[in-house]
């Protein structure tokens, strides 16, 4: 585990637009996927001989298929509004991490082969041939974009760099230059059902262990059901919730909420993953394969509802694309949103006064909340605009006495990425991850110093893992990141399900009430 040598950026009192340093991050690119990770996804195992022709053809196919992509490539007027909006630019000072410069890596090739001016007078319109050097630049800098879409909020044309980034990665996969981290994981999820590669017996063992732990700690038998046919709710959660900390404390929180609601719920060993890395590589086919596992699990188990756990990009895929990828979901109960977020579920119960909290259980912490990019800018929660901002905060405030928001430019629509999103949460990109976390670290430091904030809550598995890894670089400790449902878990007052009032009885009561 050779330590990567780099300097952690200095935290400043307020964000400063850094002086440009050309090629500051030109050395940073992730491991290329070998054939054993490429081929199962339908991509060539290595760079194909005629890669230039294949790449240019794929580019044309994508701009035809996704009209938004063509509009984004055609409409930039170089106004510069996006330049200082990317956390990777702010943290690395590399000019190619300015969103417009990142887009231009792709745009200049598009212009050369797909616009009249670019074909006739390339030099006058910034059009360039696709060369090996350009391909290397793509690989380097399209793996320095976490597809967080912050830049698109400030672009007067709404140009979405994430979409360009996804397209570029799909072109690279198609010519045989994919990224190891994403493609290995997608392969695992498509065969074993989750990103970790957690087989069913290990999942059973982990869930049984959690039941023991929670009962030992609370005296209440909270269940973690798996593959229960006929359950009402199928919970789809990131597999990190079974494995990592603080994720697992969030999973305990979901289970306690379901217990208190008297809900009949289950996890699935076939679809034991909410995350969908197919989105990160811009691959509709791979994204669809993963989404279809969720549909299949819902059908096989005969559930009425699907609820998603705390996972940022999974919620984007679920909220925005699930129906077109794997729908229609007409076999589910139409009285509930398809799908529903665990925060919506818990929030509804709080609104109905169905949960009791002892907020003092969280008094040892003062909280702030990190809006995860895909939840904030690519989805919604609840039935009012901005629900994705208010609902998680309402849950925190219902379970904690001490809460302060970070400065306005760093939250809600303007939230900064954790620095590890979009398929970049890998050790070979640690320098990028540390530097990209800078703007969030500055905002966190601000509330730490001014409001005494001790902990930051999040609802995304990637954010949680990223922060526990990069916090120590900025003199925070890894346990300062918590799950929102961990706060719920701490504060919720559990009631003992007594002998005469079994879950089945409660369900029939619910059914009668409905």
């Amino acid at each position: 585990m050779a330590k990567v040598e780099f300097a952690t950026p200095e935290l400043k009192e307020y964000p400063i637009i850094p002086k440009l340093q050309r090629d500051a991050m030109a050395h940073s690119s992730p491991y290329v996927a070998k054939d054993k990770f490429q081929e199962p996804l339908g991509y060539p195992g290595e760079l194909v001989e005629n890669w230039k022709e294949v790449a240019i053809a794929k580019m044309g196919e994508l701009t035809n298929k996704y009209r938004s992509l063509q509009v984004f490539l055609d409409s930039c007027v170089k106004c510069g509004a996006c330049t200082d909006k990317c956390h990777y630019y702010l943290g690395t000072t590399d000019p190619k991490n300015m969103p417009v410069a990142r887009q231009d890596l792709f745009r200049k090739v598009y212009r050369r082969y797909y616009t009249l001016a670019g074909k006739l007078v390339p030099k006058l319109v910034g059009a360039e041939d696709l060369t090996e050097e350009v391909l290397d630049d793509w690989y380097t800098y399209f793996h320095q974009c976490s597809q967080c879409r912050r830049c698109s909020v400030y672009c007067p044309y709404g140009i979405d760099t994430a979409e360009i980034s996804m397209a570029a990665r799909e072109v690279m996969d198609t010519v045989g230059k994919g990224q190891k981290y994403c493609n290995e994981i997608i392969g695992k999820a498509q065969t074993l059902g989750n990103n970790l590669g957690l087989p069913e017996p290990a999942l059973i063992d982990t869930l049984e262990g959690l039941e023991e732990d929670v009962e030992e700690e609370t005296g209440v038998a909270v269940k973690f059901p798996l593959d229960v046919k006929g359950a009402d709710i199928l919970l789809i959660t990131p597999s990190a919730d079974f494995f990592a900390e603080p994720h697992i404390d969030g999973l305990i929180g979901y289970a306690k909420v379901f217990h208190e609601a008297g809900a009949s719920w289950t996890l699935s060993s076939y679809a034991s993953e909410a995350a969908n890395f197919g989105m990160f590589i811009g691959s509709y086919e791979n994204m669809r394969k993963l989404a279809l596992r969720i549909r299949q699990a819902a059908l096989d188990l005969g559930v009425k509802r699907i609820v998603f756990g705390e996972c940022g990009h999974a919620w984007r895929v679920a909220y925005s694309f699930l129906n077109t990828l794997a729908g229609p979901f007409d076999f589910l109960d139409p009285n509930y949103p398809v799908p529903q977020h665990i925060c919506e579920y818990t929030h509804d119960l709080i609104q109905k006064n169905a949960l009791t909290f002892d907020k003092t259980e969280n008094d040892h912490m003062t909280l702030t909340y990190h809006d995860s990019c895909n939840v904030a800018r690519a989805s919604r929660m609840g039935d009012v605009p901005g629900g994705q901002f208010t609902i998680p905060r309402d849950i925190i405030k219902a379970t904690c006495n001490n809460f302060y928001d970070m400065p306005e430019h760093a939250i809600k629509e303007g939230t900064y990425c954790c620095g590890g999103g979009g398929g970049l949460l890998t050790d070979d990109l640690i320098e990028l991850r540390v530097k990209g976390a800078l703007p969030r670290m500055e905002a966190l430091k601000h509330v730490t110093e001014n409001n005494g904030v001790t902990h930051m809550a999040a609802i995304c598995a990637i954010c949680k893992s990223q922060f526990s890894k990069v916090f120590p670089y900025y003199d925070f400790t890894m346990d300062q990141i918590v799950s929102v449902h961990q706060l719920v878990s701490n504060a919720i007052v559990l009631t003992q399900a007594d002998e005469g009032d079994s879950d089945e009885d409660k369900q029939s009561d619910d059914a009668e009430a409905a």
Binding site: K188, L196, A244, E245, I248, A275, C311, K469
Partner: protein, 110 residues
């Protein structure tokens, strides 16, 4: 990539994880730890051995919580926490200890 021990070469992936789990020998763990600048002591071996046992049964490394619980049972409650494990394996118990134990690296959002 490869690692050399006692004149024999063992294939690893880009990050130094052993390519073939069946080739693992204790000497490999020792060599990897020395290369990282922190030689293994008895407490490290307790974790490495547990990881190998768990992997043999479940074909995956244990969750951090499963690991801390097992270590706590074996070595006392004061050691059954992730702080203790991070002291032993500063690069993360799941990743660094897995590497020494010859297991594949845990993947995903972890």
């Amino acid at each position: 990539m490869a690692i050399e021990v006692d004149g024999q070469s063992y294939e690893t992936d880009e990050e130094g994880y052993l390519a073939d789990l069946n080739q693992w020998r204790p000497e490999l763990a020792t060599a990897m730890a020395i290369a990282d600048g922190a030689p293994l002591e008895e407490h490290h071996w307790e974790v490495i051995n547990f990881l190998r046992e768990y992997y043999e049964e479940y074909q995956i490394a244990p969750a951090v919580r499963v690991l801390t619980k097992a270590i706590g049972k074996k070595l006392g409650k004061d050691k059954g926490n992730s702080k203790y494990l991070y002291e032993l394996f500063p690069y993360g118990p799941a990743k660094q200890a897995c590497k020494y134990a010859g297991l594949p690296k845990p993947t995903g959002c972890v």
